[in-house]
C-alpha cells in the first residue's frame, strides 16, 4: 500500500510537472492568446475551414463508390483503395476536431471579453469539450480498426456545413457589435 510519503511525493512531482509544462512559453500557443486578438481577427477566425472539402469527402465516402470499387476493381486494388479512404476519413475527422476546437475557442474568447459570464454556460462548454475529446478518441480508434462504416461519417459532413454557415453569421454579428469598442491589440 502506498504510504503518505509516496502520495505526497508523486503529487508534488505531478503538479510541478503540469505547472512547468504550463510555464514553458510556446510560440504556437502564444499565437492563440487574447494578446493578439482584435476585432479584425474575428473575421479571419478559422471557423470551419474543412467545409470547403466536403463535396470531395462526400464523394470519397459514398456507399456507391465503395460498392463500385468492390464490384469492378481487382480485390487487391479495392482493399488498397478502401484503406486509403479510411486514411482520408481519419484526416477528415481530424479536421472536424480542429473545427470543434475553433468553435470552442471562439466561445472562450467571447467569455473572456464579456463583462458578465454565466457559470452554467461555462461549465457546460467545459464538459462538452471534455466529452468531445473522449468521443473523438473512440471514433478515431474505431475508424482505425475498421469497425466504423465510412458512410456514417457522411452525416457529419452535413452538420459541419451548417455549422460553417452559422459561424460566419455569428462572427459577423460579433464583429459588428465590437466595431469601434475594442482596441487594436488587447493585452492579457
Amino acid at each position: 500500500m502506498m504510504n503518505d510519503l509516496g502520495i505526497a511525493v508523486l503529487l508534488a512531482i505531478a503538479l510541478s510537472g503540469v505547472l512547468l509544462w504550463l510555464l514553458i512559453p510556446r510560440h504556437k500557443s502564444s499565437r492563440n492568446t487574447l494578446a493578439s486578438f482584435h476585432p479584425d481577427a474575428i473575421n479571419a477566425f478559422p471557423a470551419a475551414k474543412h467545409y470547403g472539402y466536403f463535396p470531395q469527402i462526400r464523394q470519397a465516402l459514398s456507399v456507391a463508390d465503395s460498392r463500385y470499387l468492390i464490384e469492378n476493381a481487382p480485390s487487391q486494388v479495392a482493399k488498397q483503395a478502401l484503406r486509403e479512404r479510411r486514411a482520408v476519413a481519419r484526416r477528415f475527422l481530424k479536421g472536424l476536431h480542429e473545427d470543434f476546437s475553433n468553435l470552442a475557442r471562439l466561445g472562450r474568447i467571447i467569455a473572456a471579453l464579456s463583462p458578465e459570464v454565466s457559470r452554467e454556460q461555462e461549465t457546460e462548454r467545459l464538459i462538452l469539450s471534455l466529452k468531445f475529446q473522449i468521443l473523438y478518441t473512440l471514433v478515431w480508434l474505431r475508424l482505425s480498426t475498421g469497425n466504423l462504416p465510412l458512410q456514417q461519417l457522411e452525416h457529419l459532413t452535413g452538420l459541419v456545413g451548417r455549422l460553417a454557415k452559422r459561424m460566419d453569421e455569428a462572427m459577423a454579428e460579433v464583429s459588428a457589435l465590437s466595431a469601434g469598442s475594442l482596441p487594436k491589440g488587447i493585452s492579457a
Binding site: 503538479l15 505547472l19 510555464l23 467569455a111 459570464v117 457529419l156
Partner: protein, 280 residues
C-alpha cells in the same frame, strides 16, 4: 552549522539582498506589492534568524522556535503573494474574474481547512506541527497555482514574463517543501519520536545527534531550493520592467448572452453526432 550550511546561508542571504535590491529599484511594489512584501519578509526573517543564532546559539531552543516561526511566517507571506498573482491581470476581465475568484477562494478555504486539521492531529511538538503545516500550505500553493494556470490557459490569458517567473519560483520552493517536509515529518513521528517524549528522557542524549543531522539536512535542502527560486526571480528582474499592459476593452454584455448558448448548442450537436457514429 557545518561548512556547507554556513556557505548556503550566506549565499542565500546574498541572493535575498540582491533580490530585494532588484525589487526596490524596479519598483515591483507598485505592481505586485504583496510579492515585494514577501521578499522583504524573507530577508527580514533571514537576518532575524542570523541574529538569533548569534546571540542564543545555533542549537538553542530560542533558535529552534525562531527557525520554525520564520518558516511559517514565510509561508503566510508566500500565500499572500499567490493571492496577488491570482488577482493580477485577471481582474480586468470582469466576467471571468467573477467566476474564477469564487473557484479559487473555495479551493483555498478547502485546502486551508485540510492544512489546519492535518496539523491539528499532530503531537503538540513545534517541529512536527510546523513541518505538517508548512507541507500542507506548500501543497495548497501548488494546487492553487496549477488551477490558476489552467484557467488562464483555458481562456487564453497568458501571464507576463515576471508573473510567470514568480509563479515558477514559488512552485519550485513549494514542491521541494512538500517532499522535504513529508520526509521530515515521517522521520520525526517515526523513529525520532522518542526525542520529543518526556517519558523517554533517557534516550534524548543518544537521539540528539540524529535529530540535529536530520534538521541540518532539511535546512540545507530548504536553503538550496530557496536559492534556486531567488535566482529565477533575480533573472526575471535583471531588466527594467515593461510598462503595465492596458486594460482590455470588453465586448457588450449581449454578445455573450446571445452567442454563448448558440455556440454551446452547436458543440452539443457535434457530440450528439459522434455518439450516433458510435452506436452499433
Amino acid at each position: 552549522m557545518n561548512h556547507l550550511e554556513t556557505f548556503l546561508f550566506w549565499s542565500t542571504l546574498s541572493f535575498e539582498i540582491t533580490l530585494c535590491g532588484f525589487v526596490f529599484t524596479r519598483k515591483v511594489q507598485r505592481i505586485l506589492p504583496l510579492f515585494a512584501t514577501y521578499t522583504y519578509v524573507v530577508l527580514a526573517g533571514a537576518i532575524g534568524i542570523l541574529l538569533t543564532y548569534e546571540y542564543f546559539g545555533f542549537y538553542s531552543p530560542t533558535a529552534y522556535y525562531a527557525y520554525w516561526g520564520t518558516i511559517l511566517l514565510n509561508a503566510a507571506a508566500r500565500s499572500l503573494a499567490i493571492v496577488e498573482l491570482c488577482r493580477y491581470g485577471l481582474r480586468a476581465y470582469r466576467g471571468i474574474w467573477a467566476l474564477v475568484w469564487r473557484v479559487l477562494a473555495a479551493l483555498s478555504v478547502l485546502l486551508l481547512i485540510h492544512a489546519a486539521t492535518d496539523a491539528w492531529g499532530q503531537p503538540n511538538k513545534v517541529a512536527i506541527y510546523g513541518a505538517t503545516l508548512d507541507r500542507d500550505l506548500a501543497l495548497a500553493s501548488i494546487v492553487i497555482l496549477a488551477v490558476l494556470f489552467l484557467i488562464r490557459k483555458y481562456y487564453g490569458l497568458a501571464f507576463e514574463p515576471l508573473q510567470r517567473a514568480i509563479a515558477a519560483g514559488i512552485c519550485f520552493i513549494c514542491a521541494v517543501d512538500v517532499i522535504g517536509n513529508t520526509i521530515l515529518r515521517n522521520i520525526l513521528t517515526g523513529y525520532l519520536f522518542s526525542y520529543f517524549s518526556i517519558n523517554q528522557k533517557a534516550l534524548w542524549a543518544a537521539l540528539s545527534p540524529q535529530f540535529e543531522r536530520v534538521r541540518d539536512t532539511w535546512s540545507t535542502i530548504h536553503l538550496f531550493s530557496f536559492m534556486v527560486s531567488m535566482g529565477i526571480w533575480c533573472y526575471a528582474l535583471r531588466k527594467p520592467l515593461p510598462a503595465p499592459s492596458e486594460s482590455p476593452v470588453l465586448l457588450p454584455a449581449e454578445v455573450y448572452r446571445e452567442l454563448s448558448p448558440a455556440i454551446n448548442m452547436r458543440l452539443t450537436t457535434f457530440n450528439d453526432r459522434l455518439v450516433e457514429l458510435l452506436k452499433p
